[in-house]
Symmetry: C2
Subunit: 188 residues, 2 copies
């Protein structure tokens, strides 16, 4: 086996999710994952701190992405318009091309209370990252926090629908539709 493995990370993710679904998250060990992926334990730990992080590691890119989207938006845009302008980038960087992974993760996370709590923590950290990005833009604390909750609601509901529909409708389309719906709800 060569020292460098192409797509090692993706192979480890796929192997882990298959085993989590087949035999349960708790019953799956790191050596089982690496054997299933045809890689070494050493390679696993070069990519992930533990087996739980296979599910959540990609989320760690979110704060930098949000900071980039929010800081690069024209200063004339309102907070929600900044989000609207960033929908394509957000969908492309965080979700598109990862539907199978996200579907499988959704199933695994629902099956384990500890994982569900971990997902809630990750979402809270995402909301904090959005709040900070808007604060850096000069938006006041309350508006930044409310905008973060508002946009997380749109993203969460949209991604849920996208996964539920197995990607039938493009995610950016669903996000724009959901944003308009939440705007209508707020105005009603």
């Amino acid at each position: 086996m060569s020292r460098w493995q192409p797509n090692a990370r993706e192979r480890l993710e796929s192997a882990a999710l298959e085993l989590f679904i087949e035999q349960g998250f708790a019953a799956t060990t790191v050596p089982q994952i690496t054997a299933h992926a045809g890689l070494t334990t050493r390679t696993f730990f070069r990519h992930f701190v533990d087996k739980r992080e296979v599910l959540f590691a990609a989320d760690d890119e979110f704060p930098a992405l949000v900071s980039q989207i929010v800081s690069q938006a024209p200063s004339s845009l309102s907070p929600v318009a900044v989000f609207e302008a960033g929908i394509d980038a957000l969908a492309a960087e965080m979700f598109e091309g990862r539907l199978e992974f996200l579907r499988a993760r959704h199933m695994v996370v629902r099956s384990d209370e500890g994982l569900a709590e971990r997902e809630l923590s990750k979402r809270a950290a995402m909301a904090d990252a959005i709040t900070r990005a808007y604060l850096d833009r000069g938006v006041d604390q309350v508006t930044a926090a409310l905008t973060a909750q508002f946009t997380m609601a749109v993203v969460g509901v949209s991604v849920g629908r996208w996964i539920g529909e197995n990607g039938a409708t493009p995610l950016p389309h669903i996000m724009r539709e959901t944003l308009q719906l939440l705007r209508a709800i707020a105005a009603d």
Copy 2:
């Protein structure tokens, strides 16, 4: 010591929070709490499953309250108008008269990662309860879920401000102001 203790629950809450703040959540035992409150361990477990539940037990009343508010609202009201009409009842039943408890809980929860995760789980359960209440009203799934996130954002930000200001402004007033602000953010 008589078998029935007036205000046993409140005395246990106060004693527990004092000890959690003084010596930390992890270092505080149930016997210490009951000794501090002048009550028995038996009384403690009549009111709470464990010491963590001292912090969160009151939240369990939320689903029934929300169901009552949403089901009793005139059918002509939009989802957000239902929330608006329920602000006084929500503030009175869940928050008013509990400022000291909520302030102390906020401090304790922030100090312990496990408690912070528990609080996020409780909030997710509250959002689910709101979603169910709107579904029972005949609102579609996506609108119900978005309304739940929208109203949780208003409540969360408002209660945070109310605690931060030490109750200087009445909570229903803050909630109405925050609701108008979020409506303005959504429309912008």
